[in-house]
Point group: C2
Chain length 226, copies 2
DNA sequence: TGTACATCAGTGAACGCGCGTTCACTGATGTAC
DNA sequence: TGTACATCAGTGAACGCGCGTTCACTGATGTAC
């Protein structure tokens, strides 16, 4: 747990740079979370990991929950950025949905404990829960609605209700990410296949794409229709 | 938290009935979980709720994790029974899928903390994680595969791969149940509508059913196809 | 240019709390003789 | 029928631990004069 600790190596920040410790505390909390989950977080464990004494945290945060809210902001920013990058890189709206979904699930698998923290409702401030900063409700969910609207506009989706269909997509992706991130033993099918089933089925994609071909051309064999 | 406690009112069990306390401990743990989530569970909090001294638990369980595993068994039995009842009552396979899904989500909403415990992988024994007792992998997941196979056999589903499609359905239902159970504020669409989107989309139902009509006849307007 | 002082960025010791766990024990009740 | 005893179903006190939080403090560094 203490492998990445900077305990004992830390130097006091120079005069006027006291704010730097705030960021160091958030980073230390992220390391504690990655190593042992949110239940390993305590004021003292974060202080140990940051290489400072416990009372020093009070100079920057009111309590450990304030630290966790700052952590949550950092995690939200990270996942939104990762998805945003993928979405911006793809002009094809169907590919955008698939790759965005893949980025979401990939984040959950690489940072399972951050993903869990992101969905721990107890931690959220009302603002984080209600507005744009909300993990799914906010930017990632909005990205999903926007991408689905683009699919509809391009004639690639049969959805007539992009908001309600996006709720279903959100549920599917969160459930899949959540199941994968807890590391349950299960004969999981190929991930790209499962993501295609979820996105094609819930976004009502009429015009699948074969991602295994570099040309990314539409193919007719992606999903059989009756 | 202590409202339903039987502290101070409890009588020692009669000679030869010491086993009864085991069940009382599990029930007390369920009350603690329902009131405050799994993080409120401790050996002492469960003992308080059961109206016994803390060391008494050691006569029946090796440690608090053993109590939680017994709790998990009870929760799995409950949810499996609730779903099984609904499934057995419906001869129509499409209705079975919808009502089974509704029962699952309803359980998550009525017992959000039990639902969370059920997906807390840390608690599972290897047996619970791998075999029939597993929360979704086991009986509920098998019920889903069986129901989907019935839909296919009845010509109501276009699925050609019931196992992989069931994984997608499992993801969708778990995600939806999970999102609802954490109580996030969100303009949720009508629940039956969302469940229809998830099941019809992922089970590839070609022949929707209108649940609002008591006759449960198939209707053509459930989902537009391009 | 020197020096007193204020400020900054923290520290160390201590507090009371709930926790898991141990250990010797208690008191009611069934049973052997 | 009486009584000694074994057993059962627990209890009460104590331990060491990590926790959140407080409080007086320290020592380096910038600044006023």
């Amino acid at each position: 747990v203490n492998i990445m600790s900077n305990a004992r190596t830390r130097q006091r920040n120079p005069r006027g740079s006291g704010q730097l410790l705030r960021a160091e505390i958030v980073e230390a909390a992220l390391r504690v979370i990655d190593a042992g989950g949110v239940e390993a977080v305590s004021l003292r464990s974060v202080a140990r990991e940051a290489g400072i004494s416990a009372p020093s945290i009070y100079d920057h945060f009111a309590d450990i929950d304030a630290v966790l809210r700052a952590v949550l902001d950092a995690v939200l920013a990270q996942v939104t950025e990762e998805i945003g990058k993928v979405v911006a890189a793809n002009p094809d709206p169907v590919v955008t949905m698939l790759e965005g979904a893949s980025a979401w699930v990939s984040f959950a698998e690489r940072y399972p404990h951050r993903y869990a923290v992101m969905h721990n409702y107890q931690l959220l401030t009302t603002e984080q829960a209600d507005h744009g900063a909300g993990p799914d409700q906010g930017r990632p969910f909005d990205i999903c609605v926007a991408a689905l609207n683009e699919c509809i506009a391009a004639g690639r989706s049969a959805s007539t209700d992009p908001f309600n269909d996006s709720v279903a997509i959100w549920a599917g992706l969160h459930g899949y990410a959540s199941l994968l991130s807890v590391g349950r033993r299960f004969p999981w099918p190929d991930r790209a296949d499962t993501l295609r089933r979820i996105i094609y089925g819930l976004a009502k994609i009429t015009d699948p794409v074969d991602l295994s071909r570099t040309g990314r051309r539409a193919v007719g064999s992606g999903r059989r229709r009756s």
